[in-house]
Amino acid sequence: MISKKSDSLIIAGKKFQSRFLLGTGKFRNKSDVKSCINSSGTQIVTVALRRVDVERHEENILKYIPKNVTLLINTSGARNAKEAVRIAHLAKESGCGNWIKIEVINDSKYLLPDNFETIKAAEQLVKDGFIVLPYVSPDLNVARELVKVGSSTVMPLGSLIGSRQGIRTKELIQILIDEIDVPIIVDAGIGAPSQAAEAMEMGADAVLINTAVATALDPVAAAKSFALAITAGRLAHLSGMAQRAASAQASSPLTGFLYEQS
């Protein structure tokens, strides 16, 4: 019997029971953010840093995030390592913690992260005392380098941000799961609970979901469905189910000769 308590997600020495990370962008109503956190049981949410809109006076998102939830501050908007580092320091100054999701994008067509700048930012931010969770295109050499400079996780994209195409980088993510020793959190592109379950069945340590929940007609129900799928996928992975067998191709016998010998 697999005990839920013993299967914690451990990032930078901190234990979490939920393997669901929730992004807070694109929500129609900020109050839905709070409800989704409740319905999903997520313990880590991402937020971004933006210039205060002095004209509109919007309510701050932090009001809708319970104090016991870990804030993961996204450096979105940064186009290079220098900007990402600057955003991280601004975030730290707010007193809301030092957990940073490094997101460096200078490609406005696909929103693909810049792996090289991300490594540079990771190296600097680890030195500056941040807990670093970098978002990258899945690449084993990049992941190794990120671990080497001290990243606490690697977050490979499943598919393009907002595309909801699911896991399109499956083989590359599997390699990271198999070879990299820090938690692998699949981030971006997960559009359906079945896709989240797929990532967890592969052995991913957690998934980060934003668009699919925020833009659903009923975000609270959507968040709950993802949470259930993530739990199911994780349990399936732990249960050690047999892999799908590759179809056998008929071929002439190869070992008959061993039985012909006198």
């Binding site: 937020v47 840093l49 205060v52 707010s94």
Partner: protein, 66 residues
């Protein structure tokens, strides 16, 4: 006196403290992080920081994000 706040040119009648400017522009100053001329100014230093001609202020706070 001309200064820039969040990239926009603004005119001030006289030098003011950063604390005063934040209070005037932000509804919830407790969630705001301020930079003056590229350097972060801690909130406990806002009252002592006087804003002068051509200073560039950045005021940021958290929003929903992925």
């Amino acid at each position: 006196m001309k200064i820039t706040i969040n990239g926009k040119k603004t005119a001030l009648k006289s030098p003011q403290t950063l604390a005063a400017i934040v209070r005037q522009t932000c509804k919830e100053p407790q969630y705001v992080v301020a930079e003056v001329n590229g350097k972060i100014v801690k909130s406990n230093g806002w009252a002592k920081t006087v804003i002068r001609e051509n200073d560039a202020i950045e005021l940021v706070s958290f929003v929903g994000g992925g």
